[in-house]
Amino acid sequence: MTRYVMVIDKRRCIGCQSCTVACRTWNDLPLDIVYNPVVTEGTQGTWPNVHRDWTPLLCMHCANPECVPCCPTGASQQDEDGTVWIDSKKCMACKVCVNACPYGMRDASHLEPRLHRFVRKCTFCRDRRQMDPSAKPYCVDTCHQKARIFGDIDDPESEVSKLIGSVKTERLFTEFGTDPQIYYIPELGGKA
């Protein structure tokens, strides 16, 4: 089985937001839709003893997603490889899934024409991978810092498996029971 996950190396991320912009251009997103914001609390501490890190976000492609079972139309769904995606033709944009996601990673645009709005989210670039199975999500390719690593966690030889097996990783909001599949290597304390 193939199970795609992403490892995000916060030690390398410098908060340039290239992934955010790359994603918007590749997916031709409306302006108010951001699939993968890069967030930071800003510099912390007291000058000059300060510290800062960035958290690149995207859909967590949870193993137990909140957003799929709640969808009344069947538009929100999950592939065998773990990809959670939305069939835009089936979505009526009731936004129950938007409210169900603990990570705020879905939304429908307000800038699109009325009656043609649907909920969107990161699909791990499902379209790219369908056209070329070896393709990676665009944010991964475009990251100068190579802070985003994509791969199959079921393949013990994959880079993601090796990283998750060897470096301390964290996941966001595991308390919701969603079993998120984005693994963060923290800025401090992650031993390479």
Partner: protein, 965 residues
């Protein structure tokens, strides 16, 4: 969602290069039916497939509705925004006629051109200007590398800017934030750091890069010169320098040691706000982890009057630590000796000497204009054999040109061509610059966008963008490597590339078509590349098969060269070129323009230190504010302020605040976070609001002043670097206060300009000519040659050597000329090259060869002859005889010439081969010898072959030939 299949039929992948910043990352453009449908980073290029916000927006850029797509002619009043779209060539002709008229009336120097950052083929601009006769081209070059480059070249003969990080143990990123400016390099730093490289970041801000550093040095903004001098002091007085290198390769070290004696870390501590121990720590870290690199940072050139002092000191830190041009150190590429340099494309010989003298600012800021360039360039020609381009490295002083437009001092500049810059936002003293643009008699803009400059223009020309033009990277024409990308699509609408603009304008002005032989960039680039002798037949071949050219890695060139590329051949700790220009040969401290120590009266009213000019994601300079996808993420200008200071000033996160210096005020929103010291604010550069109606407020078109940090910067002559002319962006003193309920709009009084910018009165209060410099020139008498210099030679006082004036070859003690490029010998009288193999002289221009007595060597049938020689200079086969008269061996009285290299006789008329024994003709087809008289065939051993079986004869003959060989 539009799903686009880049693997579909009819989609071509074009290897292109990004041109939205200087990293020039590789881009793969997927083109279908003449349109780019998607782009990706090139995984096989140095960016490893990475593209930043700017690069990934290329498609938005190419198709943006607000791009200028046609030549526009102003039909209303200036600034009214009323345009007529006219054919491109018609616009070119109209502009050319006007320029010619101005030239006829006021001289060519009344026409100037402004550029911004490297975005164009600037050799084409200079090629136009040189033929037109104007010395007044300029860019923002003085804020970006050029003064540093020139100072470094004065020290060691070229800028050591190519860091060899793979072998380095320590890297100082000084005033440089690749994490937000040029992302292409940052991942390399991160990888090397993981592998053990120590990274020191010198930055007053806890920048993206500083947050990943091993050692962060948070100095006071603008105090870089003090830090550099005290580091130099520490390295010298703690004995951390490279003794062997200094002894062998440095000149004037003892003077330098004396000179920096007073610059102790304790002296620098109050200036830099660092502890003396911190300064020692950086100095030791760099000096004790050799080899190491210091990466150039823009900051060095943006501190105003203290700029080049700092970069000069840093150049000396590198030098005394022996990190010049060594593996793991800072490599000095020198000009390209293979492909043509930008300088060779500029046609600088067309510009008359008297026009050079008219270059605005060259009487003040000599290092980066004709006076300094001439010294440096002549020296480079003598040492490297090629030189720097004049574009960037030898330019008019931009702010002084703007002042000349307003004041007519030193003379009236009447026309300005603005190409690839938005001067109000990128040049210092924005209010004065805006006034100059408004006031300029004839303004032409070539740009992607309707900038404030374009708004006031008489003609606006549409420029082709990154995907619409091929791109080459040669680092301002100052390096020996070359990278290239193809044009993905032809320019859309009526857009033209910059080279085409200058070429068309040149031709329309009446310039010689033979001087503009290349219709497209591809042709010009192929011309540039041709001397490399690569197996390519066009420029696109180069991109497809090579993509980049690096000369064989050559480090330690100063050893093979027998010295550095300075006039003295040594690293000059006390630069002779700087002294000759009237500057101190060693860096002498001067503070940044406004600071608590030198100008306490200013600090009292403006107690906060402002730093600006640094690059930040996702914008680049003043670009990309139109890109909605980017702007959405960063819609408003935010300046950084420490929470302590914010609390004191009752400023909360997101509040709109005024930032005010002596020169004006702007408003930005507060980003309250401790990334700057409690007494420092950091303001991003470039802000304007292209979405606004520019014509609605001509005092502040497109809001180009209201959040523009250049309203706060200073270009007054006494604030500019007296050597390089850099104006002051860093370490300014300001005050910050919240926008009040009744004081939140930008008022007309906020837009008033003045010269000098710090004048309390609006308008011109001091004429540019009456403005003094921060330092008085130091008189310097160039020593006179001890004996008369022969005609055609010049005497270089530093080395005492004679050089030819035209070719810049050195006259050696042996009486020969030495070519600096090849180190080959040339005849001093004729310039002919000495060919050791042939023991003769060669005129490379005609290809003719001469004897050592400069007599032309006769060749018959391509064989060198020695008429008049009594004895043959080679062994003559037994059947032949030496002909004194004809100068070669002959067979009887036959006309054939004996070739000693092949051992055959050659028929000078037909070029046919004959054997040297009987004179039989060699039949290559049959592989046999043929006796012309009898028609009989022989093999190579003169056995007659049977005529009945010519095939066998032939094969036997061939076999015999093989054996013979």
């Amino acid at each position: 969602m539009t799903e686009i299949d880049i693997h579909a039929d009819g989609v071509e992948m074009v290897k292109s290069l990004c041109y939205f910043c200087h990293a020039n990352c590789g881009v793969l453009a997927y083109v279908k039916d003449g349109d780019v449908i998607k782009i990706e980073g090139d995984p096989d290029y140095s960016n490893h497939g990475g593209l930043c916000c700017r690069g990934t927006s290329a498609l938005l850029h190419v198709n943006h509705p607000a791009r200028i797509n046609h030549a526009l002619k102003r039909v209303g009043e200036k600034g009214e925004g009323k345009w007529e779209k006219i054919p491109y060539d018609q616009a070119i002709q109209e502009v050319a006629d006007k320029l010619n008229q101005i030239k006829a009336e006021s001289g060519a120097e009344a026409v100037a051109t402004a550029g911004g950052t490297t975005r164009t083929d600037d050799w084409a601009r200079r090629r136009f200007l040189n033929q037109f006769g104007s010395p007044n081209g300029f860019h923002n070059a003085l804020l970006c590398w050029i003064p540093t480059f020139m100072a470094e070249t004065c020290v060691a003969g070229w800028s050591p800017f190519e860091t060899d990080l793979g072998g380095a143990k320590c890297l100082i990123l000084w005033g440089m934030n690749p994490g937000a400016s040029t992302l292409g390099g940052m991942d390399g730093y991160t990888d090397l750091q993981k592998a053990g490289l120590k990274i020191v970041v010198v930055d007053p801000r806890y920048s993206e890069t500083a947050s990943k550093a091993d050692l962060w040095v948070p100095l006071r903004p603008g105090s870089d010169a003090a830090l550099a001098l005290s580091m130099l002091h520490t390295i010298i007085y703690e004995g951390l320098y490279d003794y062997n290198f200094v002894n062998e390769w440095c000149d004037g070290f003892d003077e330098l040691r004396e000179h920096v004696k007073e610059y102790t870390p304790e002296w620098a501590a109050p200036i830099t706000w660092l502890k003396p121990e911190q300064i020692r720590e950086v100095a030791r870290m760099y000096a004790m982890n050799r080899p190491g690199c210091i990466q150039w940072g823009c900051t060095w050139d943006q501190i105003g009057r203290a700029s080049t002092t700092g970069s000069h000191a840093i150049a000396l830190i590198r030098a005394v630590c022996g990190n010049l041009d060594v593996p793991g150190g800072d490599g000095m590429p020198g000009p390209s000796l293979g492909f043509l340099t930008d300088e060779e494309m500029e046609a600088n010989e067309c510009l008359p000497e008297e026009q050079k003298a008219k270059q605005i600012g060259s009487n003040k800021f000599k290092l980066t204009s004709w006076p300094g360039y001439q010294l440096i360039s002549d020296n480079a020609k003598r040492t490297w054999g090629k030189t720097l381009p004049t574009e960037w490295f030898c330019e008019a002083h931009g702010p002084s040109v703007f002042k000349a437009i307003i004041t007519g001092d030193p003379y009236q500049v009447r026309a300005l061509i603005v190409n690839a810059t938005n001067p109000v936002n990128s040049y210092g003293d924005a209010k004065m610059t805006l006034q100059a643009l408004k006031q300029c008699e004839f303004l032409v803009t070539v740009d992607y966008w309707m900038t404030p400059a374009a708004l006031f223009s008489d003609y606006v020309f549409p420029a082709a963008g990154a995907l619409e033009r091929p791109t080459i990277v040669t680092h301002y024409g100052a390096t020996d490597s070359f990278m290239g990308g193809r044009r993905a699509i032809q320019p859309k609408y009526d857009r033209h590339t910059d080279m085409t603009f200058w070429r068309k304008l040149g031709l329309a002005c009446g310039q010689d078509p033979e001087m503009w032989p290349w219709e497209t960039e591809e042709e010009a680039y192929y011309h540039i590349l041709e001397p490399l002798g690569l197996s390519i037949s066009c420029y696109n071949d180069f991109v497809d098969y090579y993509r980049m050219y690096y000369p064989p890695l050559h480090q330690n060139k100063f050893i093979t060269n027998g010295g550095f590329w300075t006039p003295s051949g040594k690293v000059e700790c006390n630069s002779s070129i700087l002294r000759q220009l009237g500057y101190s040969g060693m860096p002498t401290y001067i503070g940044c323009i406004e600071n608590e120590i030198d100008t306490p009266e200013i600090a009292e009213e403006y107690p906060i230190v402002l730093t600006t000019g640094g690059g930040f994601m996702p914008y680049h300079h003043s670009e990309h504010f139109q890109m909605e996808g980017i702007r959405f993420l960063y819609p408003d200008p935010y300046f950084s302020i420490n929470p302590e200071l914010a609390e004191k000033l009752k400023i909360a996160y997101g509040d709109w605040c005024w930032i005010e210096t002596r020169r004006g005020r702007i408003k930005m929103r507060a980003n309250v976070e401790p990334e700057v010291a409690p007494n420092v604010v950091f303001a991003p550069r470039g802000w304007w609001f292209p979405e606004r109606d520019g014509s609605a407020d001509l005092d502040n078109p497109f809001g180009c002043l209201e959040s523009n940090v250049n309203v706060l910067t200073s270009v007054d002559d006494w604030d500019c670097d007296p050597m390089g002319g850099s104006w002051a962006n860093r370490g300014l003193m300001c005050k910050v206060y919240k926008c009040g309920e009744f004081d939140k709009d930008y008022k007309p009084s906020d837009t008033q300009f003045s010269i000098p910018g710090s004048s309390k009165e609006p308008g011109v209060t001091v004429m540019p000519s009456d403005q003094h410099l921060a330092r008085e020139p130091i008189p310097f008498e160039v020593p006179q040659p001890p004996e008369e210099v022969p005609e055609g030679y010049e005497w270089v006082w530093q080395s005492g050597n004679l050089y030819t004036k035209d070719t810049h070859f050195r006259l050696d003690e042996s009486g020969w000329l030495i070519n600096p490029r090849t180190k080959g010998y040339h005849d001093a009288y004729t310039g002919w090259r000495y060919d050791a193999a042939g023991e003769c002289l060669v005129d490379d221009e005609t290809g003719k060869m001469y004897t050592m007595d400069r007599e032309e060597i006769p060749f018959v049938a391509g064989i060198r002859c020695y008429p008049g020689a009594e004895a043959a200079p080679y062994e003559v086969p037994e059947n032949l005889t030496w002909s004194v008269e004809r100068g070669h061996a002959v067979l009887g009285d036959l006309a054939y010439v004996y070739d000693p290299n092949s051992g055959w006789l050659i028929d000078p008329e037909t070029g046919a081969f004959h054997d040297a024994y009987y004179g039989f003709a060699y039949d290559a087809e049959r592989g046999c010898l043929v006796d012309g008289a009898t028609g009989k065939c022989y093999d190579m051993s003169y056995n007659e072959l049977v005529a009945e079986d010519p095939e066998q004869a032939a094969s036997e003959g061939a076999a015999a030939t093989e054996e013979g060989e």
